[in-house]
Amino acid sequence: MVKMANKKTRGPDKTQANTSDIVVKKLDDATDIVRQPPVFTNDSKYICIASGRQIGIYSVESADKVHSLKEHTVDVIGLAIKDDNILLSCDASGETIEWNINNGTMIKKAPIVVAGIKEFHSFHYPGNGKFLVATPSMYTTNMSSLWIVDNYTRPRKLFADIKSTPQSIAFGCNQGNGSLVVVALQDHSVVVKDITNGVDKKHMTDQRKFTCVALHSEKLIMATGDISGRILIWHDFVHKSRPVKTVYHWHTLPVNSVCFSSEGEYIYSGGSEKVMVKWRLGMSRKQFLPRMGSSIKYIVNAPDNICVATSHSDNAIRFIDSTNKINRAIIGLVKHDPIRGFADTEPIKESVMPTGLVFDPRSRGIFFNAQAGFLQLYDPQKNSLIFNMDVANRNVLTDERNLVIGNAEVLRVAVSPTGEWLATLEVWSNMSAGYHDMNLKFWRYDAVQANYELNTDVTMPHQDRVTALSFQPGLLGTEMPCLVTIGRDLKFKIWRLVDDTDIYRQKESWSCDVAGDFRKLTPSALSFSEDGSLMAIAFQDTVTLWDPTSINLNTTLSHTLVQEPIELMEFGRDHCFRYLVCASKSALYAWDVISQGLVWKVGQLQSSVRCLVPDPKSCFMAAVLQNSEVFIFSPSSSKPVHAVPKMNSSEPIAALFVPRSNPLASGPEWLINSRLLIVDDQQEFFCVDDVSSAGFNQKLTTPISHMDSLPWTPFSAMRAEKQISAAKQLVPVIHQTSGIQGYKSVQSLLETSASALPPMSRICSLFMSDLMIKHGPKAVTAKVNSVDRTTTDLPFTNGHIDTKTEDFNEETTLQKLLTLDCQWLVETVK
């Protein structure tokens, strides 16, 4: 048994040499598109969305991405439209870039300079070369100071200690004298400044904190929302110290965003109720758009007043048309809202993305949590969302003002080794009601529908919370799949697919086959050996090894050196199949299941192991520590092959080795076939990868041209779709198996059992007539002729028709061949 004191005290060995070409990349495309409010262009045809360091320009008509602008090196904090065609963006370091919206090129790059300020919070552009930027407040944390910067370099401080959210600053134009009015929110007050005339006002209401503010584009009307859900409309707030206010109160939860329509007749408001309310100013009438999927963060109105875009916390931007219906959406990877309503004793990792990352071998995608009760499948190769699946199929409930109402949440996911079966565990627990619900659902992938179908729904599979599920790997195609669950009711259960088919219907469903326990101890971790012949379940500090088919207890493994309860456990892969790696709070150690001895142990870890992930394509394993250190090691020895230093301050919550589609030509052994994906508690994706590999960020598609996003009109139809060239086109050869005469009837004759066949005399004539050719060769030639004629009629589209004639020619030769073959048959029948 090799014992290593501490991994931190590693000497300079060969692993250090590799470190230089292994990098941790942040996956930008997976970041959210709703951190900043989107901006419509002046012609309302495009919408500009900041996501991390990138800016996407999307067509409003089709919700397709037109351009992806990547020049910023830090996160973008604000977007604005400068002119008809120019987009202005600013990042957290104060760098501003002007872009041409039509072709996506950079026009100008210049930094905003405010003396002594390195970081910026938000950015607004009122016009005339002036910028409004919010910077961190000097004395109070989480507060900002607002500056107006003229011509990039001349800053003037407007307010101190204002809220730092993008919705807490608004500007407008005083119609009377054309002066610029800026308003900003403090916790309990609104501060107003008329820049040109130098008027300063501070309005206070009661103890309700403000959340958002908006200004009417033409008149001097201000709308504010507060945490009680009340919207106040302020009239003439610049000059009067006690302005007239109108109260609009429908929301029960804080108002997240208010927005005036561009004509100023309506205001839109939204919050965590997931309802967008459309108020008519000066009237009590209001319209609702309920059940928008998730809570509204920002509402933005298009300049042409036809379309409203709402940013939602599920990382989607939805477009609402003038009939108050959602007609399009831009959907990014959904961030999982932390689960509320669980007991306080629950560990944090249970509340943020509790499913972790689960690899789907069928689509080569990754399953993880989406909104409450949803599951999403993300393709790391193409960097896109494949689908978002409603597992719970329940209405998403919103909180009441003083009451947390939980939703059904997907807690665990397991995918069968072939990818045919998906098992999901959804839990709904509401502490205030003192009641909880649990459903284990089995979904089968239907290749025809390209969809998962619910096969079995088990209510309360265990009496208490299920902590892990795993499918048995390594089964032959003929064996029925098998799932093992462990729960806090001290039991483990084995579920098998049961064939319940009878003569009336085909039916397969899952049912519990065996339930077992071990010395009334709580099972904490579960792992299958790679070939599925051995199942390991950890009960506190003891590891039990079971034969999954007969459910015989083979061995129990325990040692005086390892007394802490096991939290994570994984079998080694490949030639390290005999090692079982276990992680407890402060130690990492490995058992040899064949010699049944402890092989190595690393104690006194700096922080506990958060994830233990084996690489499916090699023998290596990654241990991700809570302080975001990553160690790659082979289960056979305690010496790490590679160590990734602390990435950032955030805490990792899940990790996964993602197999590559093309193996690396060179590089460290553990990176050749797969790369490591890590998610932190902000749900940002990081990738541990070789420098030389293309990475996830590579551009797979060329940017979509301006023309493609045009609507399909009669004029666009006139545009040439294909170009004619002299080069000969390759026509793929298609073997026609279905074209054989009588194939079907021969097949059915062979497939039907002898007992079920009617007397030969009855079926003979039918069978023979099936073998005969239905239409003579005459009809075929006629067809060819007609096609020839069309080609002569329409010479300008010859590209298409030419290939068709070739097809027909092929068919005729086939017919001729068949005629020759079946000649004897036809004659005998005659």
């Binding site: 709904w428 209510t459 007969s550 083979n554 007397p759």
Partner: protein, 545 residues
């Protein structure tokens, strides 16, 4: 996305006999008309053409019944002793019957006259059949022989004496006039070809005395019954055993095809008739009779099922006609009528639409279609509007409460989820409180709903514990308490029994272990999967091939 998702109503499948298409089909048989004969009913044969007369042989006579009127159409009594196995020719004109003195007698149904007597058997003839060409007769006799007779000349053509015991079963092929099967008490079934006089072409061992044999219309498979087993043999493969089915617990006596050859019916001394699917040999339905079944007859249209029993009863059952069904269940038929009317209306619309279809819009023109309005139940409507009390009221109406408690429980579950149960239950008057309480008392011991009902009951107690109640409500609360107490008592009893069983099981397993210690050590012995073993035990079908 913006649509309201319906409340999930969780209804567990009912345990018990599954209702399948076959049970519905065979359940439609009316109450039987019974006729009492003097002796056990030896054989029933059905005329293959309309009007499907039924020939019944019992004691010393053969009677031909009209299946519609249940009256005797003809009877033949010219037998000295018992008459056996009367069989009608395929054209329905002649009937043939064996008898105790070893003769085979041919009668004309129209004139009742005895046309021929075939003499030659030395023992009683129990079965006789016309061949498919209608001019020959095969007889199966207790003198261990099978004979083929010529009808016009009244002479024996060929005789096979291969059996070593009574031949009590036989049938002829419906395709070839030369093929016939015989089943004997010496456990064998033999297939003869009249063209090869040397002997039987196929001989198979059934394993017990053969009571009846049957050849499938395709002539590729034959079935034999005897003892408690039904065996299926492949004729083309020279008598390969295809399946053995044992569903009766006493001797199977008769065999018949039904439903146009798709179902097989066997009757036995255990007073049941079992109906099998001919593909899988699974029992799809069982008919019960008051006495051991000796013979069965089913008309080709499945309209009449006739069973002859050991105590001399003939039971004739008709399929329910549409008019009868209407007369029996006027309410149901009214519904059907209504449905058909609406269907007609929709059909009209459909026709109207198809007429308009002549106009073909261009593909890029979007045609506005009416969004189909989904049916939203009342409770969902109230839940959508967050009116929890009203939602609960709608599912506490007597009909839903009594007939569909799963809906009530489902809505209660949804209210618990939404944290709205308290507000839905609070502030109720006497009558609505009593409906909730009676519902709780009635369902609290239903294990599938118990956890939700208990939750509701607890909330209810919490709300109303401090308020003053009317005597009526108080009584209902006490009633609920009594229900709970009774359930607790019941569970206690069950746990006691479980404990006893555990002791028994523990003692048996320790004994087994002591008996074979090598099982514990020798792990390579892989025991069979419990599920597979159970499946093997549950079905009695063994596919031998």
């Amino acid at each position: 996305m913006a649509s309201f998702k319906k409340t999930q109503i969780r209804s567990l499948p009912k345990i018990g006999q599954k209702v399948t298409a076959d049970t519905l089909y065979w359940r439609k048989l009316n109450f039987p008309v019974t006729v009492k004969e003097f002796g056990p009913i030896d054989y029933i044969d059905v005329m293959p053409i309309e009007p499907y007369f039924i020939a019944v042989s019992s004691a010393a006579k053969v009677q031909i019944y009209n299946p519609i009127t249940h009256q005797v159409h003809r009877h033949f009594t010219r037998f000295k002793e018992a008459a056996y196995g009367a069989s009608i020719r395929s054209d329905g004109k002649l009937v043939i019957a064996g008898c105790d003195e070893g003769h085979v007698k041919l009668f004309d149904i129209g004139s009742k006259s005895l046309l021929r007597i075939f003499k030659g058997h030395k023992g009683p003839v129990h079965r006789c059949k016309f061949t498919t060409d209608n001019v020959h007769v095969v007889s199966f006799s207790d003198d261990k022989s099978v004979a083929l007779w010529d009808l016009p000349s009244e002479t024996e053509i060929i005789k096979f004496s291969e059996h070593s015991d009574y031949v009590r079963a036989g049938c002829v092929s419906n395709i070839s006039s030369d093929l016939f099967l015989s089943g004997s008490f010496d456990h064998t079934v033999k297939l003869y070809d009249a063209r090869s006089p040397t002997g039987s072409t196929i001989s198979v061992d059934h394993g017990s005395p053969v009571e009846s044999v049957l050849m499938y219309p395709s002539n590729s498979i034959f079935v034999s019954v005897g003892g408690t087993e039904l065996r299926v043999w492949d004729m083309l493969a020279g008598g390969r055993l295809l399946a053995r089915v044992s569903q009766h617990h006493k001797t199977i006596t008769c065999l018949h095809l039904a439903s146009d050859g798709k179902r097989l019916v066997t009757g036995g001394l255990d007073r049941h008739a079992k109906i099998y699917d001919v593909q899988s040999y699974q029992v799809v339905h069982t008919l019960d009779f008051p006495s051991p079944v000796l013979s069965l007859g089913i008309t080709p249209d499945d309209f009449t099922v006739v069973a002859g029993m050991a105590n001399g009863l003939i039971s004739m059952q008709h399929r329910q006609t549409q008019a009868e069904a209407r007369a029996l269940n006027p309410k149901q038929s009214l519904k059907v009528q209504k449905k058909s009317q609406t269907a007609y209306r929709f059909r009209l619309n459909a026709d109207f639409r198809s007429v308009n279809r002549t106009f073909n819009p261009a593909t890029d023109v979007e045609v506005a279609t009416k969004t189909d309005t989904n049916f939203v139940s009342r409770y969902d409507m109230f839940l959508r509007k967050f009116q929890y009390s009203k939602a609960l009221d709608t599912v506490l109406t007597p009909y839903i409460r009594k007939k569909k408690p799963a809906i009530t429980v489902g809505v209660m579950h949804e209210l618990i989820r939404r944290n709205g149960l308290k507000s839905a239950l609070a502030g109720r008057d006497d009558s609505s409180l009593s409906s909730i309480l009676t519902f709780l008392a009635r369902n609290i011991n239903d294990p599938s709903h118990a956890n939700i009902i208990i939750q509701v009951a607890n909330t209810l107690l919490e709300i109303y514990e401090s308020s003053s109640l009317t005597p009526q409500s108080e009584k209902l609360f006490l009633q609920l308490q009594e229900h709970v107490n009774r359930e607790v008592e019941y569970v206690k009893h069950l746990m006691e029994i479980e404990g006893m069983l555990h002791i028994l099981l523990a003692s048996t397993t320790t004994q087994a272990r002591r008996g074979s210690p090598n099982v514990v050590q020798g792990s390579p012995v892989k025991p069979m999967l419990p599920s597979a073993a159970a499946a093997a035990n549950a079905t009695m079908i063994y596919n031998v091939g």
